[in-house]
């Protein structure tokens, strides 16, 4: 019934649009900076500039949370920081596990941005027995075998996957089975999860590819404009490209023709 497609109950709980939720952390950061400088109030214009968004958009975003501003004055910084923090759930403690302590996982464990906002790295987990017990960022790495127990003992509901792509789905399944309902995925794979589990993915390679697309378009604009067929060619005019590039790495882009 209800032919396919995962049902999406999400996002419309309190009526806060997903796009707004995604911007709240941005506002919060800007507000925190103001708070540290003991700035008492800000206008939507100022705050919007600091957050890099449109002021009308910001006001509309805040209107979803309630009327926390004062007309003619602006927003009380401290109060707004509190309201947004509460809305995002940052007034409570969120134990997090990081699975896959390679280069990236270790970097994440050391990343200050996590700990600084209510997120606590409860455990580091890796499949390599040689890693077990070894401290990373002051936390001893534990073996994957104990994953379920770790999740349960710490009441973890948020998991970070930083494993190789091949292991990601399996790890994901175990996390979910153990009770994790939110996953931040750094592995370059599409994870499939049951309803009720949120997945956000961060894919470094994809971001670069998107940049490359725009970069190519920019480079192509200078050369020619209207050719009917394949634009191809794409002579990237930038210097130091045609001459000495062959030596250093001998690594060619991995693509093949038809």
């Amino acid at each position: 019934m209800a032919t396919g497609r995962t049902h999406r109950p999400a996002t419309r709980s309190r009526g806060i649009p997903e796009a707004t939720v995604a911007r709240l952390p941005l506002y919060l950061r800007a507000l925190t900076a103001l708070s540290e400088r003991s700035v008492p109030t800000v206008s939507s214009e100022e705050l919007a500039a600091a957050a890099g968004v449109n002021s009308a958009k910001l006001r509309k975003d805040f209107s979803y949370l309630g009327s926390y501003g004062t007309r003619g004055v602006g927003y009380d910084v401290e109060y707004l920081v509190y309201q947004i923090s509460r809305e995002l759930g940052l007034t409570q403690d969120w134990p997090v596990v990081i699975v896959g302590i390679g280069n990236l996982g270790a970097a994440l464990a050391n990343y200050g941005g996590f700990a600084s906002r209510g997120f606590r790295v409860a455990a580091l987990i890796d499949a390599d027995p040689a890693m077990a017990g070894k401290p990373v960022a002051g936390i001893p790495v534990q073996h994957t075998d104990d994953l379920e127990k770790i999740i349960e003992d710490n009441g973890v509901s948020i998991g970070v996957i930083a494993t190789p792509a091949g292991a990601a789905q399996q790890v994901c399944d175990r996390l979910v089975a153990a009770g994790v309902t939110s996953i931040l995925n750094f592995a370059p794979t599409v994870l499939s999860v049951p309803d009720g589990v949120d997945v956000r993915k961060v894919d470094l390679s994809i971001e670069l590819q998107i940049l490359a697309f725009h970069e190519q378009r920019k480079a192509g604009e200078e050369t020619a404009a209207g050719d009917g067929a394949l634009p191809a060619a794409a002579p990237r005019g930038t210097a130091a490209d045609d001459s000495a590039d062959q030596g250093p790495d001998g690594d060619v882009p991995a693509v093949m023709p038809a």
Copy 2:
């Protein structure tokens, strides 16, 4: 299909929606996997499932690139891989510099996903003199002083910023001045750049906060709709726990109402 027509003059490569561009790398990854398994063709349904998207969306996305499918059969995997690669600009070499070789920068330098798709780490740059010459991922770290020269000598147009927040804008300015026109920013700051420069940001902390929001909502659904409640409060943040230098934006944890 080589025989002339069948071509829509309508929206050429100039008119590819941003949302579509953002999905092309996803398709490409799925197609590459199929290619490695020597699968000759795929239907939009199959490919969409592998990429985790709707099949109608996928077909529409591909329609912006041209008519590369065969009705009744599907898409030729190899051909499509080539077309998407070309569209994304991955058939050429993209030298990239990474600035800020801390935990994250080092992880990025080691990240296989970069090199595997036409991106070549041309240089690693850090402001710490002690890092200079030290090899990371087989590449010797160079000092920030030489940034401009490095950009120029290597014809770099894409830069990755993995510095602390405080240094990001300054590094950004120098990159742009030196000729970089695309920036991937990992620092938790809003970068301001002149027109013509693309910036994409990856913010680990923001992703977690978004997850926390949904997580809180899920948890709140079961119990009463009670708001606030400030659980256990007592944010531990004051312990100055930030790991040395990587401090993202160093902000205080909690807050209080007015």
